[in-house]
Amino acid sequence: MSDINTLAFTKMFLHLAKYPELAVNGILLSEKTSSASDEADSSSYLHFVDCIPLFHGILSLSPMLEIALSQIDAYCSLKKLTIAGYYHANENYSDPNPNFTTLKIMEKIKENNPNAVLFMIDNSLVDLTENDRFYNVFTLSDRTWKNVTDSHIVNDESRLSAMQLVNRKQHRQLIDFDNHLDSISNDWRNPHIRNELNAASF
């Protein structure tokens, strides 16, 4: 069971909008519950509150992924959050299936959080005027993916905010970890997006 707030949903969507022709991926953060256990707990509830876009283009190189995860981990420990989700969009428009890269990265994330889930972007759902979400949610166990999208809740405000921000061209302002490494003054925490959402709240 999981839900997602407007900020995380919107940032994910903006990342897709910024690089429509490339593969993209990123991390989703949830609140750290006091009962966080080291074992996979299928009854745990994940409340996603933030999103850190990672890379665009080539997603299968490991050094910068390690750097990114170490920084996001550090950020989480300071903010009482935890890495609980990973989103992945393939380069090919009509391919909504997780591939080998997805598997490797999910396994790495699950080392620290066995309850982590995959948000696999489905490009055919990207029209938010017709769909309430643009991804399917999967869990991973023993290298098998299980679709748990039905137990994931998205509220209407997220959908509308995401569309509104893309209309206002805010996706051009989104910073992912690749942008940060190109020029470190680009802040991968995207505080300006949070401000935009607060200004736009209705």
Binding site: I58, S60, L61, E91, T101, I184
Partner: protein, 329 residues
């Protein structure tokens, strides 16, 4: 005001031409005056272009940026260019049509693409290979892969050395998710066109998507040979070797060479921390000499990183310092 000056200049040119015809076609003075007038009318035409302020943005997007913001180009089209009569641009407008066409395809705005393509086809009829290629690209975008492939095959029958069409056929395979075939055809292409950086880069990416690090490294090596002064080539090669997992020493070497070419490359600094840490861990049981060097270099790289963050984005420093500590031995 500028349009008027341009008009007068062109009128004056016509008058000079008439004068040449009537009086003396070889008169040096008339040639000189004509030359000067043409020079000015051309300059004015170009300035007219730039004066349309949005068009300056357009030019920047098309010629300067490596990363083209296709949605910005499409916006420029819908907001500005489509409203205006483009005839004052002369032959430049065909380039604009071509660029807007490609950007519209990227943004799935097929109607805009169709409009631009119609204008190009009207002008260049069916004899232009370049426009025929664009037509095939349009078919690709509406998922009509069969027609696109047929058009490319016909173009290649007429001229089998056409590199651009060969590469488009390979892109078609990639679109159909036939990665193995795309790799195989791209290899054949590169046997002939060994200096094509774009193709080596694409082949490298295709191998990486298949997680074939060894072959990707080979492509990255070719890129290094073609252009050893590009720090990104060094850094990419290093990252591939690191991802492969069994030659951290080589990865480390190339992170250092990337840094030498461009001291501002932060990925290279991070790469040095990672590779040296891994090497020190591997050698922990053996001689202390090498380890001492690795440890010093880790320390040096960390200080460089922290210094850069302190200067550029001090807000993020606590996170980065904590992260670096977690990577420590």
């Amino acid at each position: 005001m500028v349009a008027v000056t341009s008009f007068i200049a062109m009128l004056a040119t016509t008058l000079v031409d008439l004068a040449k015809l009537y009086f003396d076609p070889w008169s040096t003075w008339l040639w000189v005056i004509r030359g000067v007038l043409l020079f000015f009318s051309d300059k004015i035409k170009t300035r007219t272009w730039i004066l349309y302020s949005k068009k300056a943005d357009f030019q920047q997007h098309v010629t300067i940026e490596n990363r083209r913001a296709h949605d910005e180009i499409v916006d420029l089209w819908t907001d500005v260019l489509s409203e205006r009569n483009l005839s004052s641009l002369g032959d430049e407008k065909w380039l604009i049509f071509e660029q807007v066409f490609k950007s519209a395809l990227h943004c799935s705005k097929q109607s805009i693409a169709r409009h631009c393509l119609d204008q190009l086809e009207k002008q260049f009829k069916s004899t232009s290979r370049r426009v025929t290629t664009l037509n095939a690209m349009y078919h690709e975008s509406i998922d009509d892969f069969k027609s696109a492939d047929d058009i490319y095959s016909n173009l290649l029958d007429e001229n089998e050395t056409d590199a651009i069409v060969q590469k488009r056929q390979i892109s078609l395979l990639k679109e159909k998710n036939q990665i193995r075939e795309a790799i195989s055809q791209l290899n054949s292409y590169l046997e002939l066109y060994q200096a094509d950086q774009e193709a080596w880069s694409e082949l490298c990416d295709l191998y990486l998507s298949e997680h074939d690090y060894a072959k990707a490294a080979f492509c990255a090596e070719e890129l290094l040979l073609i252009n050893p002064h590009n720090h990104l080539h060094h850094e990419r090669y290093a990252s591939i070797r690191y991802s492969q997992g069994d030659d951290y020493e080589k990865a480390r070497t190339y992170y250092f060479s990337a840094l030498k070419v461009n001291p501002a490359n932060i990925r290279a600094l991070y790469g040095i921390v990672l590779t040296s840490t891994n090497l020190a861990m591997k050698n922990s049981s053996r001689s202390n000499e090498n380890n001492q060097v690795y440890i010093e270099q880790i320390q040096w790289a960390r200080e460089q990183i922290i210094q850069k963050y302190r200067e550029a984005i001090p807000d993020l420093l606590p996170v980065v310092e904590l992260a670096l500590q977690s990577l420590a031995l």
